[in-house]
């Protein structure tokens, strides 16, 4: 049923293919990259795109294409891991909140409100300025500041699902709370989570690029799209290829994730007729 509806949405399929393509690039980076992304060569500084270097070289003579291919790994894994963390936290807190209600619900939802009232990006900058930037910290911090909307979604699903007959049935045969939450309700509540997961990845990639661009994200020489872009900004007038290609990469990736996410949402939504 899901597949049938999904396949009808051409745009979403293209998005899906692009996302898979990106994963393939990330996984097979060492095979695809024509050069070692870290090799510095002062003889070939800022060469424009050409036969030897398809996307040109940067200010230290490194091959831009190779750096972007390796950057895919960083960008995708940060996006994925960060949102995985956010989703786990969001699902657990959302379930507890929705299932138990009352005081626990109020406490968790007020925490959500508090977290939402703080601008995430500035919170990230503050944390990174204190602890010092690293890939892992970037992932964790994006994760720890991105779970609120997922918690709300899950809670809303739980509020309706917990009154349903199958839950009462489970309860009547003496199933534990944990069993009811994780075995009975949660699988039914995950649909919106899938969509927000996919959309969240795109957001996290953008966030990472933004942070790296400001110098707080992935540190050199590890290439990420964001920091290739930053390094290129200084050379904007003499080396356009340093900002154009990473920019396009970020754009296409985020767009693919969005249309894929949207496609999944439409395919899963029983109210929409296609």
């Amino acid at each position: 049923m899901f597949w049938k509806r999904f396949k009808k949405n051409k745009l979403a399929v293209i998005g899906g293919i692009l996302v898979f393509g990106l994963f393939a690039v990330a996984i097979f980076a060492p095979l695809l990259a024509p050069y070692d992304p870290d090799i510095i060569n002062m003889e070939q500084v800022l060469q424009s795109p050409g036969a030897a270097h398809i996307l040109g070289t940067d200010d230290l003579g490194r091959d831009v294409l190779s750096r972007m291919i390796y950057g895919t790994r960083i960008s995708l894994s940060i996006g994925f891991i960060a949102i995985a963390i956010a989703t786990i936290i969001g699902v657990i807190l959302g379930s507890i909140s929705g299932y138990y209600g009352r005081l626990i619900d109020s406490l968790i939802m007020r925490l959500v409100d508090i977290m939402l009232s703080v601008p995430t990006f500035f919170l990230l900058l503050t944390v990174l300025a204190i602890v010092g930037p690293s890939i892992w910290i970037v992932m964790f911090v994006i994760g720890l500041t991105g779970w609120m909307s997922i918690a709300r979604l899950v809670r809303a699903e739980f509020l309706t699902l917990k009154e349903r007959e199958f839950v009462q049935a489970a309860r009547s045969i003496g199933a534990s709370d944990a069993r009811i939450i994780f075995r009975h309700i949660l699988p039914n509540a995950l649909t919106p989570v899938y969509v927000s997961f996919i959309l969240g990845v795109a957001g996290a990639i953008l966030m990472e690029s933004g942070l790296s661009f400001l110098g707080f994200g992935v540190q050199p020489p590890t290439p990420s799209w964001g920091n290739i872009l930053t390094a290129g900004r200084e050379y904007m007038e003499v080396a356009w290829w340093l900002i154009l290609f990473p920019g396009i990469a970020i754009f296409i990736t985020c767009l693919s994730y969005y249309i894929l996410g949207e496609g999944i949402r439409q395919a899963l939504d029983p109210k929409l007729k296609i």
Binding site: D38, I39, I40, M42, V45, D59, L60, G61, A129, G132, P133, G215, Q219, P220, P221, R233, E234, Y235, M236, E237, V238
Partner: protein, 543 residues
């Protein structure tokens, strides 16, 4: 960023750009009718000043601002000899132990109070006070007795001969007694609202944005032609360059790339003038010698062999600079060209590391010893792309010999106050702006390792201590030369720093300013004589 009048002091530099000394300018009377008053100059600076009392700050951003506001008793002339600034003349006793300064009469502080010898004594007493947090005390501890003979005569007596004695009476020590007498110098408001005797007086400081100075009408060498100087703080070099392109800035220091590739257009040729001259500064990779790995000389030498300085000059400075082998710059008398050099030789570096017990046991490309991997972090300041690029190249070269390096760039004042002063680092990339006198006691002497002092790498070498002492205790230039030559040999052997390069200064100034007279040491020394012809004037001070 530039450096005004302070070439006699050593200080941390934020980024290599345009430094200069204040030297005497000859009045060009025959042309005086074409001079016109008015207009302001807007200078782009990448770092914000920390403290405008010269003796309390050791960063060039602060000295550059305070240099407009304060004078010393003496200053350097065009040919780099010392001439009077606030002092009219001075006598030095035969044995060199007593200097008697005769101050110029009629000089007024910018608030209208008369300047007298008491102010000099007050400044001296302040800097030697143990409570004053100054990195430059050492020179003044040499003074046995300082006394005011009359309103305009100031006499200092030294216990032993002290070569930098005269030069040390530059602008660090003259402070207005009538304002600061009852204040705590470390906490006073004065550090953000200074009153001096200089060509420009303090008007306003908008934190994080700009410092505004206006012409001192009563300046004792004549009012500057310009009405004011605005130092705008723009941490990001790209933004600064864009501001220059829109003509929002009149004077900045270019990066090598901007100098070579981005300022070639007709627009720049028409509206700006570019200058290029070697700086009195060098960039280095400094090690924390308290760290167990870097306390071993072999390791430092191995790292030196793993780096290619020529590559740095070529790649980072685009050839506009020289490699550095010691703490003096080429073409100055203390510079010793024949010290041990470490050619780029990764194989040799690996051997040295192996001798020191570092081996790649688990074959991951990184050396280990006693189960610990050879990893360390290089700190440098944010916003200086040249240094970050240098760090990236060093990181790559060290990776080749099996050392993993992380780079962390930090905001300037946090970098100096939390990491350098507190010695919380493994290695740093930084620069020193150096004085004209070769005495670098404050940087290399083993007693100068306390918080806020300049030997922050904790270098300790008895022979260097003795030579530093020897070098400052004689006026005989040949004997001094011997001492400083030997110091450079020891430093090249011991490598507390790996001296990387001496960058060229690459200032660019709006073409509407006239009266700029380039000398081998720079352009900005005579800024109070710069002027803009009436028809080209752009800014007016708002009344």
């Amino acid at each position: 960023m530039y450096f005004y009048r302070h070439l006699c002091n050593i200080c941390f530099i934020f980024s290599a750009s345009f430094f200069f000394v204040h030297i005497a300018t000859l009045a060009q009377n025959n042309q005086s009718n074409s001079f016109s008053y008015g207009d302001e100059i807007i200078i782009g600076s990448s770092a914000e000043a920390s403290n405008l009392i010269p003796m309390l700050s050791s960063d060039s951003a602060s000295h550059e601002v305070s240099g407009f506001i304060f004078n010393g008793l003496v200053k350097y002339d065009k040919d780099l000899t010392l001439i009077g600034d606030l002092a009219q003349s001075w006598e030095i006793s035969e044995d060199g132990l007593v200097i008697t300064f005769h101050l110029k009469k009629g000089i007024k502080w910018q608030d209208g109070t008369a300047f007298t010898a008491d102010d000099v004594l007050f400044g001296y007493e302040t800097i030697i006070n143990e409570k004053t947090l100054s990195a430059y005390k050492e020179d003044y501890f040499q003074v046995k007795k300082a006394e005011v003979l009359d309103k305009y005569t100031f006499k200092v007596t030294y216990e032993k001969p002290f070569a930098p004695a005269l030069a040390s009476w530059g602008s660090l020590v003259v402070l207005p007694k009538h304002i600061l007498e009852k204040e705590d110098i470390n906490k006073t408001e004065f550090s953000r609202k200074p009153v001096g005797t200089g060509p420009f007086k303090f008007k306003e400081w908008v934190p994080g944005q700009k410092v505004i100075l206006e012409a001192n009408d009563n300046y004792f060498e004549g009012r500057p032609y310009l009405d004011g100087v605005v130092i705008r703080i723009i941490p990001d070099p790209t933004t600064m360059f864009l501001e220059l392109k829109t003509q929002g800035l009149d004077w900045i220091g270019l990066s090598p790339l901007q100098y070579k590739k981005q300022t070639q257009s007709e627009f720049f040729k028409k509206n700006y003038r570019k200058f290029k001259y070697p700086s009195f500064s060098y960039t280095y990779l400094g090690f924390n010698l308290k760290h167990p790995w870097f306390s071993d000389k072999k390791i430092r030498q191995a790292i030196a062999h793993a780096l290619d300085k020529e590559e740095l000059v070529k790649g980072v400075l685009l050839g506009m600079g020289n490699i550095s082998t010691g703490p003096y710059v080429p073409n100055t008398w203390p510079y010793n060209p024949n010290v041990r050099k470490y050619e780029y030789n990764p194989q040799k570096a690996k051997e040295l590391l192996r001798d020191a017990g570092w081996q790649d046991i688990d074959k991951d490309g990184i050396l280990e010893k006693n189960g610990k991997k050879f990893e360390f972090t290089i700190l440098t300041n944010m916003g200086n792309t040249t240094r970050i690029k240098t760090a990236t190249i060093i990181q790559y070269r060290l990776r080749e010999v099996g050392i993993k390096v992380d780079i962390r760039s930090l905001e300037w004042s946090a970098f100096i106050n939390w990491f350098i002063d507190k010695k919380r680092f493994e290695a740093v990339i930084l620069g020193w702006s150096i004085g004209l006198d070769p005495d670098q006691y404050d940087i290399w002497h083993s007693t100068k390792i306390k918080e806020k002092e300049l030997n922050f790498v904790s270098f300790k070498n008895q022979e260097v201590d003795e030579l530093l002492e020897k070098g400052r205790r004689t006026f005989d230039i040949e004997k001094r030369k011997q001492a400083y030559y030997r110091i450079q040999e020891i430093l090249a052997e011991e490598l507390p720093y790996i001296f990387l390069y001496v960058p060229d200064n690459l200032p660019i100034v709006s073409a509407r300013f006239e009266g700029i007279a380039p000398t081998p040491i720079g352009i900005g020394y005579n800024i109070e004589k710069w002027y803009v012809p009436k028809n080209l004037q752009k800014y007016r001070i708002q009344e």
